[in-house]
Amino acid sequence: MSKTALQFRHNGRDVAIFVDGGTNLLVALRELIGDMTPKFGCGQGGCGACSVLIDGELHLACLTLAETVAGRSIETLDGIKQGPNLHPLQRAFADNFAAQCGYCTPGMLMAAKALLDRNPQPSRAEVIEAISGNICRCTGYEPIINAVLAAASSRARA
């Protein structure tokens, strides 16, 4: 199968790769770019572990054809820390014990970031809706909801 040259922005940096036809964005990010923060959970859009932002909008990398992101800007968990400092959401997840095994955490953080970027002061119901596409087996969701609300309120204070 012939390969297609593909360029896009990855966490603020221009990248160029060659992809086989049919390659999904998750495989492109993990295997061709080496960004292991989007996780492979189910590979069919049921768990949210591979969530990334494409031009600021939340998408499932496993259901996104890599070729469709040509020229667009991809943001993954690997890019959200601010220099040496954790992103306020990462800090809030740590403070609120919102991760146990950690496998859902990158997707949860991206879903939460997509929410706070468009709605800095969400209600509890809005947080619940925003993370409803992401499955967590360990935490019971409560600490994650609390972490997102805490990050929003710390941002409001800042």
Partner: protein, 340 residues
């Protein structure tokens, strides 16, 4: 057609660790010339926090800062033997093994420090901040790092310790079958409040209130995290999850996360938890283990709450809307029980 509120209670008595067979786990502790300590285990941390808890146990026993202890887990090729991370046994079994190993290592560390300070080891104490000094004379002090260096390069001693925890085997009385299957029990009581829709059979969680007695909570935030997450899993097993929803036709079984049902973030409810600390006689620093028991009381409490709400007794899990609805129809309608 209406929605009915009901309240159910359940209490559990939960044995820590496996029964019989001794359920052993081993741990090795050694110091590096940097003065830091490594705990070697074959046990696995799945995210419950066993690495953090064994680190705390080791640091507390050695008398050194928690930052000076590194826990290396889950290499069964090179690590000491462990039965595994299950049966809520990690904190209790592995913790006891780590404590024994750290005690032995502390003995060598104090002997090595005594040789450097030219005093009797029995006269020394640790300050928990990385120093060893003569009791009552803090200025006669040596850092654990300098002790480690002296042991390694001058005295030719290994500051290390071995630990194992094995429950004494219990004989079964051939006449009565009486035996002592476990040495340590945790306890919990949980009240669940649900709302049952008698038109759809749908059960919504309204709130939970629980009390857990699980020995000393070595890391209260990790204990709380276990109890919150475990209760969610209890709701999931009570009302949602099954691999065989239409047994015995397994081809109707769930194949993915769309068909394998679990409660989402919108299906949870407020949960007020009280942790009662009654130190266990044979636990490390009195700890038992919150592990699996955090899910257990939820299931019977939810089943009892459904009975209280609509008068149907469902004894097959999960309690799906279909089962609730069929049972309500079979008894000719919802029969709310006296509110408890």
């Amino acid at each position: 057609m209406a929605r009915h509120r009901g309240r159910g209670i359940a209490s559990i008595n939960y044995p820590i660790g496996m029964n019989l067979g001794g359920d052993p786990s081993q741990a090795l502790v050694h110091s590096n010339p940097s003065g830091k300590f490594t705990v070697s285990l074959s046990s696995i941390d799945l995210g419950q926090g066993m690495k953090s808890v064994t680190r705390q146990i080791c640091a507390e026993t050695l008398g050194v800062p928690v930052e000076d202890v590194y826990v290396d887990t889950a290499d069964s090729d090179t690590g000491p033997h462990c039965m595994g991370s299950f049966a809520s046994r990690g904190t209790h079994r592995v913790g006891n093994a780590v404590m024994a190993a750290a005690k032995e290592a502390r003995g060598v560390m104090m002997e090595a420090a005594a040789e450097e300070l030219e005093v009797n080891a029995a006269d020394l104490e640790t300050d928990g901040r990385g120093n060893i000094h003569v009791k009552g004379a803090p200025h006669r002090s040596i850092s654990t790092k300098d002790v480690a260096i002296a042991a390694q390069f001058k005295q030719g001693k290994t500051i290390s310790g071995r630990g194992i925890f094995l429950v004494p085997l219990s004989d079964v009385d051939p006449e009565t079958g009486e035996m002592s299957p476990a040495t340590c029990y945790a306890h919990a009581c949980l009240v669940a409040e649900v709302e049952v829709d008698d038109e759809t059979g749908d059960v919504a969680m309204i709130r939970m209130d629980s009390a857990y007695e699980l020995g000393r909570a070595l890391n209260p935030r990790l204990v709380e995290q276990q109890l919150v997450g475990g209760a969610w899993m209890g709701i999931s097993h009570a009302l949602y999850e099954t691999t065989e929803p239409y047994y015995p036709v397994s081809s109707h079984g769930p194949r993915d996360f769309v068909e394998y049902l679990m409660p989402g973030p919108g299906d949870i409810c407020p949960h007020d938890i009280a942790v009662l600390e009654r130190p266990a006689a044979d636990g490390p620093f009195g700890a038992k283990g919150p592990g699996e028991m955090c899910a257990n009381p939820v299931l019977p409490a939810v089943a009892n709450a459904i009975f209280n709400a609509v008068g149907v007794r469902i004894d097959k899990l999960p309690i799906t809307p279909e089962k609730v609805l069929r049972a309500i129809k079979a008894q000719g309608g919802a029969r709310p029980q006296p509110r408890r």
